[in-house]
Homo-oligomer: 342 residues x 3
Amino acid sequence: MKKTLSEIASHVKGKVFGDPGVIIENIRGIDEAREGDLTFVANPKYLKSLETTEASAILVSPGVERADKNLIVVDDPYVALGQVLGVFYPEDHDPPKASRGTLIEEGATVSQDARVYPGAFIGRGAKVERGVVIYPGVYIGRDVAIGEYSILYPNVVVLRRCIIGKRVILHPGVVVGSDGFGFARPAQENIKIPQVGFVQIDDDVEVGANTTIDRGTIDKTWVKRGVKIDNLVQVAHNVVIGEYSVIVSQVGISGSTRLGKGVILGGQAGLVGHIQLGDHVMVGAQSGVHEDVPSGQVVSGSPHLPHKKWLRVVASLAQLPEMRKSLSSILERLEKLEKEAK
Amino acid sequence: MKKTLSEIASHVKGKVFGDPGVIIENIRGIDEAREGDLTFVANPKYLKSLETTEASAILVSPGVERADKNLIVVDDPYVALGQVLGVFYPEDHDPPKASRGTLIEEGATVSQDARVYPGAFIGRGAKVERGVVIYPGVYIGRDVAIGEYSILYPNVVVLRRCIIGKRVILHPGVVVGSDGFGFARPAQENIKIPQVGFVQIDDDVEVGANTTIDRGTIDKTWVKRGVKIDNLVQVAHNVVIGEYSVIVSQVGISGSTRLGKGVILGGQAGLVGHIQLGDHVMVGAQSGVHEDVPSGQVVSGSPHLPHKKWLRVVASLAQLPEMRKSLSSILERLEKLEKEAK
Amino acid sequence: MKKTLSEIASHVKGKVFGDPGVIIENIRGIDEAREGDLTFVANPKYLKSLETTEASAILVSPGVERADKNLIVVDDPYVALGQVLGVFYPEDHDPPKASRGTLIEEGATVSQDARVYPGAFIGRGAKVERGVVIYPGVYIGRDVAIGEYSILYPNVVVLRRCIIGKRVILHPGVVVGSDGFGFARPAQENIKIPQVGFVQIDDDVEVGANTTIDRGTIDKTWVKRGVKIDNLVQVAHNVVIGEYSVIVSQVGISGSTRLGKGVILGGQAGLVGHIQLGDHVMVGAQSGVHEDVPSGQVVSGSPHLPHKKWLRVVASLAQLPEMRKSLSSILERLEKLEKEAK
């Protein structure tokens, strides 16, 4: 694909500095870009590469204007990058023509406009809306609903009665609706509590590869509109995740915990069960959250502390061996003074 | 389904307080329950919801008797909940009638009473006993044995020679028998050590979605009777997990480590290799266990400490910056005193 | 299989002590071994079992010679073990004769000498070289390349345009080429940035069960020659992992982070994005690495410290409650002295 810089600028609603007629054929990272490539600087850490990049043009933020480069200045270069990538690399989800080997159980309702690959299974009572893409190896259990234009990548499993909204993306290996981990008399008899609830995933949610979301024990586990979950995350039974929250890779959320809107959980963080995190709470990577966190707070550490306090604790921690030495010497000097004082 | 409160009470061996003839049609959580619903209080945290619940009846522990509600009093409301859920929501694992697309290799032995979905693969020499359910996308390797009434959910993989007991439940995406992580001259040549052992999973074990259990290098990795493992757990080669142990989500157990009976590992805990945990050891969430732990001990932290000691360390940790300030001021005052003493 | 000790010794280039004619039929761990078995001691922790083992012969390191046992002395018993295991337990990857149900899309190129199981999917434009083994449930996306003699175990997913080298092993459930986790205006609008790059995995790499490797946003995520990755590891977009590095289970590597050669990451360690680790860096289990680490360094802790410093901090940490008490008593004594000095 070939586009002029000014065509691209008008698509991303940006302003050209330099030659508006320069031809862009490809998009590449700032260190890999060559002539004909458009690149971008979204993270200030990479501003220094502006000096050396061979890209024909660069998407930058306001204030980065410079005379020696062709630039498109936009409010948010990362958003603009997303828009151009969508234009240069449109994605194709069409299955092969002959779809022998597709296993649709009698009693399933699949839209004529859904695209189902061979090797997928759709159970009776399931409803698959128009525009949905179902890749090979996907299992859709009985009475499951999949909303318009959702994409289920290979080997995704959605078990009985779960509800998936519109434009949801489930990456390969995602499991939705596995049994919650509920046992009476744990470590003695481990009596299984049947998990008869379901999972509800609202519109515009994306779930990363091999992430697992357990069904509610009786009611539902609920991932609300616009939530983005990374790979290998664990969401336990009866958890509720508020709109537009962002859950980074390998996080674990224990049973019945509820997150407000716009919560961000850093990678490998863990949350105990039965707690509430308010709107826009941020949790640092590897933190362990053991009790409610009010809206707007930033917390870090395991067990968690307010983020600023945690920073001070961590700074002191490195000094701990010296503090211990200092304590010994103080004790000696004190004893000496006390003897002298007698 | 409709049952009277007294019918339910007799099923769970409980005692009715209130109206024994009230009709129950459904089971729901305490905040969601409406007229016609039975609910429960197993965690004291939810006792306050007793005031406001609209449920027609509630499963409670002894001592929660109150005149204004219909109650069933039982020793363990969570166990009783499990019993009623099993009655109200019986699970159906029947595959579709036509099971074209099932791939059973010549030389496999599959019971007439096993239920095999289309899209499953069963290798030669494998033995699948009666009552077993094998969902689509399951791979059963050569010479594998699957005991009576076990359930293998979609996309489970059990590799060559592994042995699965009776009434075992493997949730979607579980991998049993992948190669252990064994390399000679690590980070230099990474020479692969063939992993030729197997995995043995005993009766009544349940393994959570996308959990991985590696085969022994030469001998076996062994998950004993009644063990319950949550989602996304890693069990390395030659690990032994004792009867009725409970392993919470995202735990990692390194090679050759052995757990006694009734051990509980909290979420995201990690154990180094070649250590032993005695019977009924409890390990806190996110802990790092680096050496043997004797029977009955409770440990927390990374590296782990006895739980009570860890609680004191954690309490002091938050005071660390103040301790550091205090040390500086002490040093100043001490110097002043020393000068004066001269 | 039966072999004499001297045949085995000549295969592993070792020296026999004891009876060279003793017959070996099997290989077993030191505690399980019986007559007819060969065993080994690679970890000094197990040297004490030499006293009690019933094995007919033992692979040991130089310096372990003893008169009462049949031994093969080799430089590296673990390497030698790997060699004998390969001889005694050759692996068989042949698919069943009739491979009905294999789904190869028109326009895919599959070598006559590749072995493709039924229930695998290969997209158009994909190229599968000779000697490759593709198990059931594997999904190979469009324009993917799989190099000679690679093995893709059941339910592996390799998405569009990814490149897999020669002799690569992907264990069950591995996902290669899922979308990176890139969203503009996080926790507010979560605007998806299309992930249009790919993953390149070089020769002789092994990737553990259910591990996920995301595609680059624009360029590539790159796992270099000889790297070994354990189960349930997360490799984010644009990460580069240097030759022969070893990544233990449940590690998470955030976006654009680059590892040098021969790096070792301990289990459950986490690395933030956009940092560099030099050659032969070692990171302790459960560590959190938040900034660049120069070549050759060993680091531990979260946030990480130089390993030796971390050991001292950890040792002091257990003393923290006592230090706090000591501080209080010092303050009292100091005040007393100060009063007296007035």
